[in-house]
Subunit: 234 residues, 2 copies
């Protein structure tokens, strides 16, 4: 029974890593469409989205099964709850890749405004954040999780830079407005991907650090306290 | 023990409803800042965000405690997993209210571009979607959940209308670009709130309809099948 649980837990981790790898490829393809104006990179993004959506359902079911069939320890239970949350974040960040490719499809039909080197730079950071936040979660590596959180500042800076540049373009050349808007939204989608990776890193920290401070007796006390807190909000 | 579980489950539902009510007030205040140019509505949004963030942590702990101390049936377990996911959606949609108020603060310092009646309309729809998706989840009301999903189309239409109007403004009057951009992003944040409410409605459906089709034996089979599926992706 114990061995079966460990195998299923490993299966859960493998699923999450595969979903993360799919999302990473989706981001790369979506940005390739923007930067290299490569129409062939469009449809694989939509195809992978379908797989990611299916995997989200499957991962939730694996989590439910793990809890229902085994009675995981507090630490494993916390990890499985973290997996449910991470799963949702992965699906959402894959959706951002779809948002990017939709804007990229508009841009394929019009002359290029300008090659923006900041977009590939943002994509590289975002992809790295996705990969490493997942590694941090699966390996319960709090140091890596915290390091990912720091990278989000750089992504925010690049988004702000893009915003300044593109606002200037729109003010100077009214003809550039639709294209500049698409690029502005693309930079925001990339920043959102970083936000989802940040959320995953925070989940990783919650899973590990919760372990050290909480135990059975504390849990009861905690529920009483939180009930009291919520009443204050009524 | 059974009664204790039911009480805690009711406490969980109450927490989620309170968090949803807080988020609704945040959306109303954020949009009041935009539409009525009411600076007094700004700081309550930030104050409530802190409470919502705290509640997110507490609700996760309640869910963990419910599973760890009791061994919920498959149906209750599925509901608690849904609560973990709904909890995250509520926190994220409250963040969108913060995004709105941040843009509204810019707009308070510049002359009004134009009163946009579509923004209050979008806000009304979005708030109703939040309230009803939560009611659908807590009461396991699939019909209401499906009805909420339909309302999202109207929100998408209004966002598209805002986008057309604001793009035209920017093209015609370069001086309007920064203000029009803020309004465009505000309309997108409202649409995102609708997306989160859509996600909550889908969770409500997943919780109820999963109950009818899944049971112990099926779960084992399902895990085997999904492992096979994931291997195909490798």
């Amino acid at each position: 029974m114990e061995r079966h649980f460990d195998e299923q837990l490993q299966g859960l981790k493998n699923h999450l890593m595969k979903m993360s790898a799919l999302a990473e490829v989706m981001i790369a393809d979506a940005v390739k469409t923007v930067v290299e104006r490569d129409a062939a990179a469009v449809s694989p993004v939509y195809e992978r989205e379908e797989i990611v959506n299916q995997m989200e359902i499957e991962i939730d079911e694996i989590c439910l099964t793990l809890i229902a069939l085994h009675q995981p320890t507090a630490g494993d239970l916390r990890f499985i709850m973290g997996a449910v949350k991470t799963n949702a974040e992965l699906e959402r960040l894959a959706d951002e890749a779809v948002n990017i490719v939709q804007k990229a499809e508009h841009l394929l039909n019009v002359p290029q405004l300008k090659p923006f080197s900041l977009i590939p730079e943002m994509a590289t950071i975002a992809r790295g954040m996705v990969r490493d936040s997942l590694r941090a979660f699966v390996n319960r590596n709090v140091d890596l999780a915290r390091e990912v959180l720091l990278r989000d500042d750089r992504l925010d800076d690049l988004k702000a830079k893009m915003s300044v540049k593109l606002t200037a373009y729109m003010s100077e050349d009214p003809g550039s407005v639709p294209r500049a808007l698409d690029l502005l939204l693309i930079s925001r989608y990339l920043e959102r991907i970083g936000d989802h990776a940040t959320n995953i890193s925070e989940i990783a920290i919650f899973v590990v650090e919760g372990l050290d401070v909480r135990h059975h007796a504390d849990q009861k006390r905690f529920v009483n306290r939180t009930n009291g807190h919520a009443d204050n909000l009524a």
